[in-house]
């Protein structure tokens, strides 16, 4: 029924995913939402690499290995992020990233 997806289709998908992720990062006010969007962009990148592994360098598994590492790193990143979110929440009782502007209130003067 469907034509076999070519590299272009896959890349388009990945680009869409990336854009959606970025959009989410810049519009979500909740930090966790932002984190989710970041994961989405990461996933688009992962997808990208897999696509290239499949279509460009299919005789090697380098891309897949790289992806595994990325997943691990992303997990670590998420852990640290969540920890920071928790401690941020303890101070502010909110996870609204737009509220994270106290530093500038204090230090941003134009003498």
């Amino acid at each position: 029924m469907f034509p076999t997806p070519t590299i272009t289709h896959w890349l388009t998908l990945s680009a869409l995913l990336f854009s959606i992720g970025l959009y989410g990062i810049f519009t979500r006010r909740n930090a966790v939402g932002v984190l989710l969007s970041i994961e989405m962009t990461l996933n688009s990148a992962i997808l990208n690499i897999l696509i290239f592994n499949r279509f460009v360098a299919s005789d090697e598994v380098d891309g897949q290995v790289l992806v595994l590492f990325i997943i691990a790193a992303a997990a670590a990143e998420a852990v640290v992020a969540l920890a920071i979110f928790v401690s941020f929440y303890r101070h502010r009782h909110t996870l609204d990233v737009t509220q994270a502007n106290h530093i500038c209130d204090q230090g941003n003067s134009t003498s």
Partner: protein
């Protein structure tokens, strides 16, 4: 021209220089009295040396010979432009040497008495020695730049001496005025030096003269552009004459006119004369030495030095004649109306220097008689004018006032002063056989010979005026009744002051009998003009008569005559308001150039610098606002940055 004295002529100016050091070292504090003695001895020695030099010149050298007897390299600009300090010995420098050393000696001696007890006693003698040194250096200069160097130095010593009484505002103002006005003139002198330096140098390099001398730096003895010998040489003058200058004048004329403006400044020719009357604020002996006998005639000397140049130019000489003629008339008119005895003498000086300039102006390469006449008048004038000033100083010393209205009847109180003053007055009035008669007569003769009838007429008229105003002063000062307490209590000055008067009196009588013109211009024959003699004696008599008629008796003829002249009298009395014009110009310069410049600097240039700092801060503050603290905004900036970089990479090729 060899001999110990010639080769060591530098000692003459060096002596006063040594005296400065000695006074500075020894005449301090309570020893100040020594200063006068040191100064007098030094200048006395210099006078003796000068006499010796003159005698050996007369005996050994050919008449009219000229040579640089000693020189050292002083300022090396470049090849053919190496300035030496040296001593140029020729008739006119010897003449001036004699005048300067003799008058200076007498003034030194006179000053010992005149300045006694003044708190600046040793300072005075330092300045006086400085002046003498500078003047002697000027006289001996073998090149234009040395002339300029000492020219400036006499200017500054004049400045120092005019402002000697430094707590008096008018003395300060006068000293500044003198310096600045002469400096303004010197600017043109300097410009003239630049012009001559460049074009003469050019000529030397282009001509075969350049090839003869060494190319390297050791060319002090080679042909130098600023030497009088070079400038006055015929090929150089012809070359300069052939080149175009500015305003349609040839280069030679331009250069000579520039130099003449310098000369006019120092000699206080119209319209640069304004400083001289005010300069009388200095001590009177200073006026006698600097502002009557020596420094003010430096201009005449300079023109005489460059006479071949002026003569070759022609036009420049006409300007000299015109300026001299006008000044001599103009100053004589003003002199008739002044009440300050020193000012009358000052204007008289102006007038007499005008006479000398006039004499130079009427001379020419073919008929140089005027040159001799000018030098002759310079010579005689130095003595009788110095005498007049010293006499006036003696009077002022006694009366403690400068105003002739405060004097009168001093003939009895101060017999010696009176006698010498009278001699000088007669001499300047041109009554034979005193000095002034001969020199003035020669000038008038030269004017007539040169077919300058208008100048001759003016000269004659001024001769009459001179006799008139001098006798006016004489009468008001010495004859009649005492007009003030000061005059009543006056008494004769001490011998230390009167002896110089007597010496000068002798010179004023006998000076005219010396054939100065023949000495200066050997070989130029002079014929006596009986007509001129007669006319000039007549003019003197008319002048003297008028003076006695107006001021002799107890009449108010003078007053009524002045009243009848009305505005013209006031115009003349106020010196034609030239000073006010100068004041206006000065104020304009202050207000419309200096003040705007200072304002511009602070409020435009500096403000521009401050503005650049402000712009930096402004941008910093604006950009700082971008730091909103919104993490998502930061992210958007970053993504936009990525896109910009991408576009940049796509669109901009290196």
């Amino acid at each position: 021209m060899t001999g110990f004295l010639f080769e060591n002529a530098w000692m003459i100016p060096a002596l006063p220089l040594i005296s400065i050091l000695l006074i500075g070292l020894f005449a301090t504090g309570s020893n100040a009295r020594v200063a006068g003695i040191i100064g007098s001895v030094a200048i006395g020695t210099a006078f003796l040396l000068t006499c010796g030099l003159g005698l050996s010149y007369l005996s050994s050298a050919e008449a009219g010979a000229s040579a640089v007897t000693w020189s050292i390299e002083w300022l090396r600009y470049q090849d053919h432009l190496v300035v030496s300090l040296g001593t140029l010995i020729d008739p006119i420098s010897l003449l001036l040497l004699f005048v300067v050393t003799s008058v200076s000696l007498l003034v030194h001696v006179y000053s010992i008495g005149y300045m006694a007890g003044d708190e600046g006693y040793s300072r005075y003698f330092v300045f006086l020695s400085l002046f003498t040194f500078s003047m002697l250096g000027l006289v001996l200069a073998p090149n234009l730049l040395q002339m300029y160097v000492f020219w400036e130095l006499v200017g500054v010593s004049s400045f120092l001496l005019i402002g000697f009484y430094y707590t008096l505002p008018e003395a300060i103002a006068a000293s500044k005025k003198a310096f600045i006005v002469t400096r303004f003139a010197d600017l043109f002198f300097l410009a003239g030096i630049l012009v001559l330096g460049f074009f003469v140098h050019q000529w030397i390099v282009d001509s075969e003269w350049g090839g003869v001398t060494a190319t390297a730096l050791q060319s002090a003895t080679a042909t130098q552009a600023l030497d009088f010998a070079t400038i006055n040489s015929e090929p150089v003058l012809a070359n300069l004459k052939a080149q175009p200058g500015v305003f349609g004048l040839d280069l030679l004329t331009v250069a000579m006119l520039l130099v003449f403006i310098g000369a006019a400044g120092k000699s206080a020719m119209f319209p640069l004369h304004v400083w001289l009357p005010d300069a009388m604020a200095g001590p009177t002996p200073v006026s006698a030495l600097i502002h009557a006998a020596t420094m003010v005639v430096a201009g005449v000397y300079l023109v005489a030095r460059l006479f071949p140049g002026f003569a070759a130019s022609g036009d420049a000489l006409h300007v000299v004649a015109a300026v001299g003629c006008f000044t001599c008339l103009f100053a004589a008119l003003i002199a008739c109306t002044q009440r300050d005895i020193k000012r009358v003498l000052a204007f008289s000086t102006l007038s007499q220097i005008g006479y000398m300039m006039l004499a130079l102006g009427v001379a020419s390469a073919e008929h140089p008689a005027g040159l001799g006449a000018a030098m002759f008048h310079l010579f005689t004038h130095a003595f009788f004018k110095a005498l007049l000033f010293l006499g006036a100083g003696s009077v002022i010393h006694a009366v403690h006032s400068n105003d002739v209205a405060d004097m009168g009847g001093l003939r009895k109180k101060m017999p010696l002063t009176h006698a010498t003053f009278l001699i000088a007055t007669i001499a300047i009035a041109g009554v034979p056989p005193l000095a002034g008669f001969f020199s003035k007569d020669e000038i008038l003769g030269a004017a007539l010979d040169g077919e300058h009838h208008l100048i001759f007429g003016v000269g004659l008229f001024v001769a009459a005026l001179t006799a008139f105003y001098m006798f006016r002063v004489y009468i008001l000062t010495f004859l009649g009744a005492h007009k003030s307490d000061g005059a009543a209590k006056a008494h004769e000055s001490p011998p230390i002051m009167t002896i110089p008067l007597v010496v000068l009196g002798v010179m004023s009588v006998c000076g005219g009998w010396i054939a100065v013109s023949q000495f200066v211009l050997p070989g130029v024959e002079l014929h006596a003009h009986l007509l001129v003699m007669g006319l000039s004696v007549a003019a003197a008599v008319v002048g003297i008569g008028a003076a006695f008629w107006l001021y002799g008796g107890q009449t108010n003829r003078a007053q009524s005559m002045a009243d009848s002249m009305g505005g013209i009298y006031r115009l003349v009395q106020n010196k034609f308001y030239i000073d006010e014009v100068y004041l206006l110009v000065t104020k304009m310069i202050f207000r419309f150039i200096a003040a705007p410049a200072a304002w511009f600097d602070r409020h435009v240039v500096d403000a521009a610098m401050n503005l650049s700092a402000a712009v930096v801060r402004w941008f910093g503050a604006r950009l700082n606002v971008l730091q909103t603290g919104q993490v998502q905004t930061y992210g958007i900036w970053m993504i936009n940055g990525t896109i910009v970089i991408l576009l940049f990479l796509w669109l901009v090729q290196r």
